[in-house]
Amino acid sequence: MGLEPHLNKAMTVTIRPLGMLKTYIGELKEISVEAGLSVRETLHLIGINPDLVAGVFVNEELKTKDYILQDGDIVKLLAVIGGG
């Protein structure tokens, strides 16, 4: 199972870390993942600690990390922030 960048075995999603997350994990772009994986599982696979991600936006909609990725999804990851 899992992720093999750029091999397009199953489906392609675009993952974009925003703001401070880039300092932890750099820029990520298109990756290929197997169908049926959640955002949380995908984050683990690409080496991002899900606890450092505050917001998951899929095609501009706020989703939970349990969202099952679909082919062509554009996923933005917002870093944890500072509260009030």
Binding site: R16, G19, M20, D51, A54, G55, L62, I81, G82, G83
Partner: protein, 608 residues
């Protein structure tokens, strides 16, 4: 003086005398402004042992060199005083549009002194300054007063007002402005109420001198461009601080039922998405803000509106009270704002009372008949009113803050009074997040998050690890983040959008003509941190290590549910954190700054 209004206004409420004096250049050099000015004036002018609610205490409102300028979020001012809640140092940062008008009135600080014999409000229209009768305003809600004064004077006049909570000197009363911004913590509203000052109305028309006009324009525009170009701006602006709710729930940091857990089964009903879908009407920003985090909300069920709730209110008035209903949380927010009490402290006090009730420590005989079970929305609304008006046994008890309330009630309730130094902890549960726990333990106003938000670092390096790097991180944040409160601008553009903090240095230099690196600014932050520490030492004979201990719950009582179930910080690790912290700060083993540290920071003359 470039970057400054140029004057300090003293308002003696006892005799009505109003005086202006030039802002000292040396003060601007050493302490820059905002919280720095406040800490300096408090230490220097308020005598040791002053009653926080008496004649001798002062309430100091200060702008910074970025306030009212072409700086993202340059709408912050700082309200500094001796806290009636803690007996120590307090400052509360307030956004909105008040600060800019203060600067345009030519003022860097207003120092409120004495006690008025009758209710008054302060009216400032540039150089026209008056104390006016407020007897018709006394007793009214803070929002109502703002509406009334805006109607009387005009939309361009900015208003800061207290509600009944401040008048009745609830020890965590706040000051409201701009229909939903507060100087919230430490009881600054109670101090204003003790002075019989109901409101300040303000409008200024002066310009501010700038050292390098072209450099100012370029540096200011560069900062705005960085904000506008920041990836994540749209997402952040859509949800504001509430976006963190789901994340806190996931990592066990969302205060739940008086911090007995860090995850709430109804979190999805009160998170940012629920709020946006159910109650938000539009966004709202403070002066000069390119990334508005404020949200105006409409609560259909109650037919009311509020600016909010922010994450902190969702945490303390929602999950902490077992309430999974965003409309109810927003209505509690509205009540607290209008009545003028801090939602964080009020939520903590009510959560503690609910736990007391469920454990049989408090009964209906103590609660004026209220069924104080977690999740009882009507009881929460009733209690907010009782606290603000100090009504009945329970209202009077909870108006004292959770530390004093637990001391009065006893029966083991001290163990779950969630506070440090007498200030109720804000909305991050710290059963197993040692850097964040240390940040709360050592914060210079009590258990507040804004100085050092270190919980991310816990998750990066291992949440239960107790290592020098964590301590260093907490100290760095404590020296660095409050500098935004010194400069008079919002920190959220750096925190949330991740813009390069070095962009602030050329702007500050172009405005003031003084070149400062972040290393220089952090040195000022360190000096202020040690000054506020010495204030605690001066005002409390027994001050020392014991004062830095966290709420017992975090080292004795692991959550039974949620992401941190079964997890806890060992008491020996709490002590190790303090050992390392004191050592790295240059303080002795009891937590007092050493003579050598004070000399290095050039503070010896001021503090002796």
């Amino acid at each position: 003086m470039n970057g400054y209004g140029g004057s300090i206004l003293r308002v003696n409420l006892t005799d009505g005398k109003l005086t202006k004096e030039p802002t000292p250049a040396q003060l601007a050099k050493d302490f820059i402004g905002g919280r720095g000015f406040g800490a300096y004036f408090l230490f220097k002018e308020v005598p040791k042992g002053a009653d926080p609610l008496g004649q001798e205490n002062k309430l100091i409102i200060s702008t910074g060199p970025l306030s009212g300028m072409l700086a993202p979020g340059g709408g912050k001012c700082d309200w500094t005083t001796k806290s009636p809640l803690t007996g120590g140092y307090a400052d509360a940062s307030m956004g909105g549009h008040f600060t800019a008008e203060l600067k345009y009135a030519g003022l860097d600080s207003i120092i409120l002194e004495g006690v008025s014999p009758t209710p008054v409000y302060l009216f400032i229209e540039t150089d026209k300054i008056l104390l006016l009768d407020a007897s018709s305003l006394w007793g009214k809600g803070a929002i109502d007063v703002e509406v009334e004064l805006k109607h009387k004077y005009g939309e361009e006049y900015q208003v800061a007002a207290i509600g009944p909570g401040g008048e009745n000197q609830v020890l965590y009363a706040c000051i409201n402005h701009d229909f939903g911004r507060q100087a919230g913590r430490g009881g600054v509203g109670a101090v204003m109420g003790s002075k019989k000052l109901k409101a300040i109305v303000l409008h200024g028309t002066k310009s501010v001198p700038v050292a390098d006009l072209e450099g100012y324009r370029k540096a200011g525009m560069a900062l705005y461009k960085a904000c506008k170009d920041a990836e994540g701006l749209a997402e952040w602006s859509r949800y504001g601080t509430t976006i963190v709710t789901t994340w806190c729930n996931e990592v066990g940091a969302l205060p739940t039922r008086n911090f007995s857990a860090g995850s709430f089964e109804l979190a999805d009903n009160i998170n940012g998405q629920a709020m946006r879908n159910e109650i938000v009407i539009t966004d709202k920003g403070c002066f000069g803000c390119p990334s508005p985090c404020g949200k105006y909300s409409n609560m259909k069920r109650y037919n009311t509106q509020v600016e909010g709730p922010e994450y902190e209110t969702i945490g303390l008035m929602g999950s902490n009270l077992g309430i999974g209903d965003i409309q109810a949380v927003a209505e509690a927010n509205r009540l607290a704002d209008d009545l003028g009490i801090d939602t964080i402290s009020a939520g903590s006090c009510i959560g503690w009372a609910m736990e007391c009730y469920e454990k049989g420590i408090l009964t209906k005989a103590d609660t004026d008949g209220l069924e104080l079970k977690f999740g009882n929305i009507d009881a929460v609304f009733a209690l907010i009113k009782k606290i603000a008006y100090r009504e009945g046994k329970i209202g009077n008890l909870l108006a004292l803050g959770v530390k004093r309330a637990a001391q009065q009630v006893g029966k083991g309730s001290e163990k779950f009074a969630i506070q440090v130094k007498g200030m109720e902890q804000s909305a991050y549960a710290t059963h197993n997040a040692t850097a964040m726990l240390l940040a709360y333990m050592t914060c210079d106003v009590g258990a507040h998050h804004n100085r050092s938000w270190a919980i991310t670092y816990d998750l990066q390096v291992g949440r239960d690890k107790v290592v020098p790097e964590k301590v260093a991180r907490v100290i760095w944040l404590q020296n660095f983040r409050p500098m935004f409160d010194v400069m008079g601008s919002c920190r959220l553009q750096w925190v949330e959008l991740g813009i390069d903090r070095d962009l602030y240095c050329p702007l500050l230099e172009a405005i003031t003509g003084v070149k400062r690196s972040w290393q220089d600014l952090e040195a000022v932050g360190n000096r202020i941190w040690n000054l506020t520490r010495m204030y605690w030492v001066r005002e409390n004979d027994s001050f020392g290590r014991e004062w830095d201990l966290p709420a017992q719950r975090f080292y004795t009582d692991p959550p039974k549910t949620g992401a941190t179930a079964g997890q806890i910080t060992k008491f020996e690790d709490v002590q190790r954190l303090l050992d390392m912290y004191y050592d790295q700060r240059g303080w002795d083993t009891n937590g007092l700054p050493t003579q050598g540290t004070l000399e290095t920071l050039n503070l010896t003359t001021l503090v002796t």
